[in-house]
C-alpha cells in the first residue's frame, strides 16, 4: 500500500507535472504540422511552369503562378463571380483618363506600393518596364518580348513619366481593347518587374528570380517538381491578401497521378481531372467547381483542298456535325456547343446566336448538289492535346463518324501538340480537310492571327488559307473603334461573314473543372485560363 506522505506527494505532483508537460508537448508537435498544413495550399496543375519572366513568359500554366507575383496598370478581377468576362479593375494604377481622341491614356499610379525586394513602385519603374518591353536601345531590353507582346504594344506611339505617380501612354490610333490587352495574360504579359531586381539578377536572371508587387512572393523552385510561393504580408489590396502562407504549384502531367494525389490528400486541389473520373471523384467527397472558359474549339477548313473550294461542301460538312450530341455523350457535360467564331467570354459573344443547323439529310443533298453525291476521301490532322485538353483524339473520331454519315471518308492522323502547332504555322497540308486547336481570349486579338489574308502562313495562323480581304479591313476598324458598342457591332459583322463563308466550324466551349478536397473553401473559378488562388482557405 502506498503511504501518502510529503515525499510521495511531491513525487506524484512531479509525475503529474511532467506527464502534463509531455502531453502538452506532444499535442504541440501534433498541432504544429497540422497548422503548417492548414497554411499551405498545394495545387496539382497540368504541367510544370516555364520561365518566370513575365515579359517573355510562354505557357498558360506559367501564368497561374505569374498572376500571383506580378501586377500591371490594370487587372482582370478574377474573383468576380457570375460574370461572362472578368471585369477590368485598377491595379498598380489607381485610376486613368482617356483623352477625347482615345489615343492618350494617363495613368494615376498607386502610391505606397513596393516590390517584394523593397524597391518602390512609381512612374520611373513603369518607364523602366516599358523600356524593357519595347525599346531596343535600352540597356535591359528583352528582345523576346517584342514579338510576344505585339498584341499589346502594336499601336504604341510613345510613353513618358509625367511626375512621380503619373504615367502617360500615347497610341498611334484608338484601340477599343487597349485596357483589356493591358490586363490580359497568357504568353507574354505587360506586368511590372522590380527594376532593382533586373539590375541585380540581369535580364536572364529574372527567369529564376521573379520580383513583382503581387500578393505572393517567390519562395523556391525545383524545376520539374514544384514552385513555392510565399504570402506577401505587406500586400496593398486587402481584398486579395492571401488567407494562407504558402502556395505550392506542382506540375503533374499524368492526369491519373493528379487525381490519386488529390484523393490521398497529397494535393489540396487539382485542375482538369479526366471527364471519366468526375463522378468517381465526387462520390469520394471531393468538391467539384465547374465553369465555362473563354475558349473555343474551332475547326480550320482547308480552302485549297479540292472539294472544299465549294462553299456548299463546307456548309454540308458543318451541317453533318452533331455538336450537341458531342458535348453531351462524348464530353459528358464538360463542354457546351459553340456557335459562331466569337468565343465565350470574348467581346461580342451572344448566347442566342446560332450558325449551322444539325441536318445530315440536308448536308447529303447539298453535297450532291456540289457534285459529290458519293462524298470524297480526305484526312483529319489532329493533336493529342496540349495543357488543358483531355483526349481530343475522341473528338476526331466523333467527326470521322459524323462526316462518314454523309459519305465523306476521313482518315485521322495524330501529332504531339508542339509539332501540331508547327504544322498549323506552315499551313494545312495537301490532302487534309480539317485541323483543330483550342483558342480564344477575353479580347478579340487572337482573331487577328487567324482571319486576315495577311495572317496566312507563314505570317500567322490563317492556316486554311481563308481568302476574304474584307476581314483585314473589318478587324482593323474593330480595333480602332472608340466605344465597345461600336466594336461589338463590327465583330458581329465579322462573325456573320465567317459563318456565311463557312471558313471555320466552331465545335464547343470547354467547361473547365477544378476538383478539391472537402476542407478547401473559398475558391472562385474565373472564366479564364487561370484563376486567383488568394481567396482559398482550409477549414
Amino acid at each position: 500500500m502506498i503511504k501518502f506522505n510529503k515525499e510521495n506527494f511531491h513525487k506524484v505532483k512531479n509525475g503529474f507535472l511532467s506527464g502534463f508537460l509531455a502531453i502538452a508537448l506532444a499535442s504541440l508537435t501534433i498541432t504544429s504540422p497540422a497548422l503548417a498544413e492548414k497554411n499551405t495550399i498545394t495545387i496539382g496543375i497540368e504541367a510544370d511552369l516555364a520561365r518566370l519572366d513575365p515579359h517573355i513568359s510562354t505557357t498558360w500554366n506559367t501564368f497561374k503562378a505569374l498572376l500571383h507575383m506580378y501586377e500591371g496598370f490594370v487587372a482582370e478581377d478574377l474573383l468576380a463571380e457570375n460574370v461572362e468576362t472578368p471585369p477590368i479593375v485598377p491595379s498598380l494604377a489607381e485610376s486613368w483618363e482617356i483623352s477625347a481622341d482615345k489615343k492618350t491614356y494617363t495613368f494615376k499610379l498607386r502610391e505606397g506600393v513596393s516590390f517584394h525586394d523593397g524597391e518602390p513602385w512609381n512612374a520611373q519603374a513603369a518607364k523602366f518596364n516599358l523600356d524593357r518591353m519595347t525599346n531596343p536601345d535600352f540597356e535591359f531590353h528583352q528582345p523576346g518580348s517584342v514579338g510576344l507582346l505585339s498584341w499589346v504594344w502594336g499601336d504604341l506611339e510613345s510613353y513618358k513619366v509625367v511626375n512621380d505617380f503619373t504615367f502617360e501612354i500615347k497610341l498611334k490610333q484608338p484601340n477599343a481593347e487597349f485596357l483589356r490587352r493591358l490586363s490580359a495574360g497568357g504568353s507574354g504579359t505587360p506586368r511590372m518587374i522590380s527594376p532593382a531586381a533586373v539590375r541585380k539578377y540581369g535580364n536572364d536572371g529574372i527567369n529564376t528570380n521573379p520580383v513583382g508587387t503581387g500578393p505572393f512572393k517567390f519562395g523556391e523552385r525545383e524545376v520539374g517538381v514544384q514552385t513555392v510561393l510565399v504570402k506577401n504580408s505587406g500586400y496593398w489590396d486587402e481584398k486579395r491578401v492571401p488567407k494562407f502562407e504558402r502556395l505550392i504549384l506542382r506540375g503533374i502531367p499524368e492526369v491519373t497521378t493528379r487525381e490519386l494525389g488529390l484523393l490521398t490528400g497529397e494535393l489540396d486541389m487539382i485542375s482538369t481531372p479526366s471527364p471519366d473520373s468526375l463522378e468517381y471523384l465526387e462520390a469520394q467527397g471531393m468538391t467539384m467547381v465547374k465553369g465555362p472558359v473563354s475558349t473555343i474549339y474551332p475547326i480550320w477548313l482547308n480552302f485549297r483542298e479540292g472539294p472544299l473550294k465549294d462553299v456548299r461542301v463546307r456548309r454540308a460538312m458543318a451541317m453533318a456535325i452533331d455538336r450537341e450530341g458531342m458535348t453531351k455523350y462524348l464530353r459528358r457535360g464538360t463542354a457546351t456547343p459553340a456557335y459562331g467564331i466569337l468565343n465565350y467570354g470574348g467581346p461580342g459573344w451572344d448566347p442566342e446566336y446560332r450558325d449551322f443547323p444539325y441536318d445530315p439529310e440536308g448536308a447529303k443533298k447539298l453535297l450532291a448538289e456540289a457534285g459529290y453525291p458519293d462524298g470524297f476521301e480526305t484526312r483529319l490532322d489532329w493533336t493529342m492535346g496540349g495543357g488543358g485538353d483531355v483526349n481530343t483524339r475522341a473528338d476526331a473520331e466523333w467527326l470521322q463518324r459524323d462526316l462518314g454519315r454523309i459519305g465523306i471518308r476521313a482518315k485521322i492522323e495524330l501529332f504531339d501538340n508542339g509539332t501540331y502547332w508547327d504544322m498549323l504555322a506552315k499551313g494545312t497540308r495537301e490532302g487534309t480537310c480539317c485541323m483543330q486547336v483550342s483558342w480564344g481570349e477575353t479580347g478579340f486579338f487572337w482573331l487577328d492571327l487567324i482571319l486576315p489574308t495577311t495572317a496566312q502562313p507563314p505570317n500567322g495562323f490563317n492556316s486554311g488559307y481563308y481568302e476574304n480581304p474584307k476581314m483585314n479591313e473589318l478587324l482593323a476598324s474593330a480595333r480602332a473603334t472608340s466605344s465597345e458598342a461600336e466594336m461589338v457591332k463590327i465583330l458581329h459583322e465579322i462573325r456573320d461573314i465567317v459563318t456565311d463563308d463557312v471558313a471555320f466550324i466552331p465545335l464547343y466551349t470547354p467547361i473547365q473543372v477544378y476538383a478539391m478536397r472537402p476542407e478547401v473553401k473559398g475558391f472562385v473559378l474565373a472564366p479564364q485560363h487561370w484563376a486567383d488562388y488568394t481567396s482559398v482557405y482550409k477549414e
Binding site: 503548417a36 504541367a47 510544370d48 516555364a50 520561365r51 519572366d53 517573355i56 510562354t58 505557357t59 523576346g144 517584342v146 514579338g147 510576344l148 507582346l149 505585339s150 498584341w151 504568353s187 507574354g188 536572364d204 527567369n207 529564376t208 523556391e220 525545383e222 524545376v223 520539374g224 517538381v225 514544384q226 513555392v228 506542382r250 506540375g251 503533374i252 502531367p253 499524368e254 491519373t256 497521378t257 490519386l260 494525389g261 484523393l263 490521398t264 497529397e266 504531339d416 501538340n417 508542339g418 509539332t419 508547327d422 504544322m423 504555322a425 492571327l449 507563314p458 505570317n459 495562323f461
Partner: protein, 315 residues
C-alpha cells in the same frame, strides 16, 4: 585482358561521338523551328528569319554540329528555351534523381532476378519453378505505365502505405526514410519487366548447368541441392547473368521514362518528356545525350565485368 578493355573503351568513345551526331541531326531534321518556338505565335516571318540568322541556324549542318560539339566539351549544353536557364543546370539534379531510381531498380532487377532464377532453374520442373515462371511471364508482359497506376491505386490510395508522387526531397521533413518511401513504387515498376527477363535467361543458364557432369559428381559426393545452386553452379552462371543484367540498363531507362511520368519522379525521363512537349530542343538534346552516356558507360562496365568473370574471354 587489358587490351580487350582498352579496345572496348575506344569503341565506347566512338559510339558516343556517333550518338552525339545522331542526336544533333535528329533534332535538326525533326519538324518545328527553334526560332519560331522562341518568338511565339505573334512573330512575323521576317523576325523569325532574323533570329534564325542570329542563332546561326541558317549555316551548314556540319558547322553547327562542330560548334555544338566544341561547346559541349566545355560543358556548355546551351540554354533551355522554356526555362531561360542553362541546360546543364536543369538536367544536373535530374540525372541524380534518375540514377537513384535506376540504381534502386537495377538492384531489384539483379537481386530478385538472380534469386528467382536460382529458385526456379535450380529446382527445374518443381511447383515453385512453375509458379515463378508464371509470375515472370506476367511481370514481363505488364506495361510499366499500367503497372505503375495499379500499384498506385493499391498501395497509394487503398492501403495508404506509399506516397503518390514526387521524390519528397523538398518536403520540410525530408529524410532518407521519406525519399525511400517515395522510391519504392517507381523502382518496382521500373524493374518489373527487366527483372523477369533477367530471371528467365538466367534460369535457363541454371538448367543447363544442372545437367553438367560436375553437378552430378557433386551430388554423388552428397552435397545438398542448396549448396550446389548457390556455390557450385553459380560461378558458371554468373557471366551470362552479368551480360543479360548489363543489357537491362537500356530497358530500365525506357521503363523509367514511363514510371517517372506516372509517379512524377523528377528525373531525366520526365524532363525529356517536358522538353518534347514544350519544344525545348536544347533540353531534349541534353537529356538524350545524358541517357546515351549512362547507357553506353553502363554497358561498358557490364562488358568489363563479364570479361573479368569469364576465364575463356580473358585471353
Amino acid at each position: 585482358m587489358i587490351r580487350l578493355i582498352i579496345n572496348r573503351i575506344f569503341a565506347t568513345i566512338l559510339v558516343l561521338i556517333g550518338v552525339s551526331f545522331v542526336v544533333f541531326a535528329a533534332l535538326h531534321f525533326s519538324p518545328g523551328d527553334v526560332a519560331r518556338t522562341i518568338l511565339g505565335l505573334g512573330a512575323t516571318e521576317e523576325r523569325v528569319q532574323a533570329l534564325r540568322q542570329e542563332l546561326g541556324l541558317d549555316r551548314p549542318l556540319l558547322i553547327q554540329y562542330w560548334d555544338w560539339m566544341m561547346a559541349l566539351l566545355r560543358g556548355d549544353l546551351g540554354r533551355s528555351i522554356s526555362l531561360g536557364v542553362p541546360v546543364s543546370e536543369v538536367i544536373f539534379d535530374k540525372i541524380w534523381a534518375s540514377l537513384l531510381l535506376m540504381g534502386a531498380s537495377f538492384f531489384l532487377t539483379v537481386s530478385f532476378g538472380l534469386l528467382f532464377a536460382a529458385l526456379s532453374g535450380g529446382y527445374h520442373r518443381s511447383l515453385m519453378d512453375r509458379l515463378i515462371t508464371l509470375l515472370m511471364l506476367l511481370l514481363a508482359s505488364l506495361p510499366p505505365f499500367w503497372l505503375g497506376i495499379v500499384l498506385l491505386i493499391i498501395f497509394g490510395l487503398k492501403l495508404r502505405i506509399f506516397p503518390i508522387s514526387g521524390v519528397g526531397a523538398m518536403a520540410d521533413d525530408a529524410t532518407l526514410y521519406v525519399v525511400a518511401m517515395h522510391l519504392i513504387l517507381p523502382a518496382v515498376t521500373t524493374a518489373a519487366s527487366s527483372l523477369a527477363v533477367v530471371a528467365r535467361v538466367t534460369r535457363s543458364a541454371f538448367i543447363d548447368e544442372m545437367g553438367e557432369p560436375y553437378v552430378q559428381s557433386a551430388r554423388a559426393r552428397g552435397l545438398s541441392q542448396r549448396r550446389i545452386i548457390s556455390i557450385e553452379t553459380m560461378r558458371n552462371v554468373l557471366p551470362s547473368f552479368v551480360t543479360i543484367a548489363g543489357l537491362q540498363i537500356g530497358f530500365l531507362f525506357s521503363s523509367a521514362l514511363f514510371s517517372e511520368i506516372v509517379f512524377n519522379w523528377p528525373g531525366i525521363g520526365l524532363q525529356l518528356y517536358l522538353g518534347i512537349v514544350q519544344r525545348d530542343f536544347p533540353v531534349v538534346q541534353g537529356c538524350v545525350l545524358a541517357i546515351a552516356i549512362v547507357f553506353v558507360v553502363g554497358n561498358l562496365l557490364a562488358d568489363i565485368l563479364s570479361i573479368a568473370l569469364d576465364p575463356r574471354r580473358r585471353g
